[in-house]
């Protein structure tokens, strides 16, 4: 049983998104970002410099890796988006978490879970001047990730406050 489960999880790694990523490996118009689990293990040596970084470290501590494909000047962003969704839909293990279809930007969040734990969060963004697909895998805490940008914005407001004080 364990052997079957083991092979199943290793198969899960070789899923639609991995195939999708490899299909673009030779395309130089895409920037590929990969942060491996080895790198994540090194994050324990980093000390967060501020509140936002500490939150990030906390969120990262449960992750195993990040993969991203970024194109900052896509020829046909909408086609790339549709193609990506189609590839991922072939893999039945992904569910749509959130989808925003706007006139100038499309965003889709998809998740793959095992029981109550989300193992992978997939974000696909297409806009006029960008196309990006990003996969976070490991143990995903959606609330924690959503919280990060608020922490970041508060940090930004702190900077503004500092500016105000300087002007006084």
């Amino acid at each position: 049983m364990i052997a079957v489960a083991g092979s199943f999880s290793s198969m899960a790694q070789d899923n639609a998104i991995s195939k999708y990523f490899t299909s673009f490996s030779a395309d130089t118009s895409f920037t590929k970002v990969t942060v491996t689990s080895k790198m994540f293990s090194l994050f324990t040596e980093i000390e967060g410099e501020d509140e936002a970084e500490k939150e990030v470290l906390e969120a990262l501590s449960k992750l195993k890796g990040i993969k991203a494909l970024i194109n900052e000047d896509p020829k046909d962003s909408k086609a790339l988006y549709a193609n990506a969704i189609k590839s991922i839909d072939k893999d039945k293990s992904y569910e749509v978490l959130m989808s925003v279809e706007g006139s100038d930007e499309n965003i889709k969040f998809m998740v793959r879970d095992q029981g109550s734990v989300i193992n992978e969060l997939l974000m696909i963004v297409s806009g006029d001047d960008e196309f990006l697909i990003m996969s976070l895998f490991g143990e995903i805490d959606l609330k924690q990730i959503a919280k990060l940008s608020r922490v970041m914005k508060m940090k930004g407001m702190d900077h503004l406050k500092a500016l105000d004080n300087d002007n006084d």
Binding site: M39, E45, L60, M98, I107, M123, L136, A146, M152
Partner: protein, 159 residues
């Protein structure tokens, strides 16, 4: 000393009754002409006299201690101060070198980790930002829905 006296002392000696003084007299006065003493006996006492006259040189002590001193100086090299000092210097250099290498490696690793962390950080922020953007759309959508719903309700009410 008469040979008779010597003979007496000799007899007394072999019975182990002589005093130290008498023994001395016997040793000093015995000669080979002292018949009827056994020549072997004469030889024995003469030898004794020879041994007892052997004296240490005046500078024996000096010589003795000098020898000890020189022996002391040939203690094994690894017990000597210069060697211990050299060893500790080598050890210190080794430790400092090892520590330096360790620190350099650690620093390189930390820099590498920092660079990867910056990437991971901006990736997470982007996901977080888009997620909140999505949430905002949803909230706005809900608000619009609510507003429309309210409008419809009030319109219905008015009608």
């Amino acid at each position: 000393m008469e040979w008779k006296q010597i003979k007496q002392l000799s007899d007394k000696y072999w019975k182990a009754d002589t005093t130290i003084e008498e023994e001395k007299q016997l040793r000093k006065n015995i000669t080979s002409s002292n018949d009827p003493l056994d020549p072997q006996e004469v030889e024995y006492f003469k030898t004794l006299e020879q041994f007892s006259s052997v004296k240490l040189d005046d500078n024996f002590d000096d010589q003795f201690f000098k020898n000890i001193e020189s022996e002391r100086q040939t203690i094994p090299f690894f017990h000597q101060k210069w060697f211990q000092l050299a060893a500790s210097v080598v050890l210190l250099i080794g430790m400092a070198g090892g520590f330096h290498t360790y620190k350099t490696k650690q620093l390189a690793r930390q820099q590498e980790a920092r660079a990867a962390f910056e990437i991971a950080k901006s990736a997470l922020f982007m996901v977080s930002d888009k997620m909140n953007q999505g949430n905002q759309y949803t909230i706005d959508g809900l608000k619009k829905f609510e507003e429309t719903h309210q409008k419809i309700k009030t319109q219905n009410f008015n009608n």
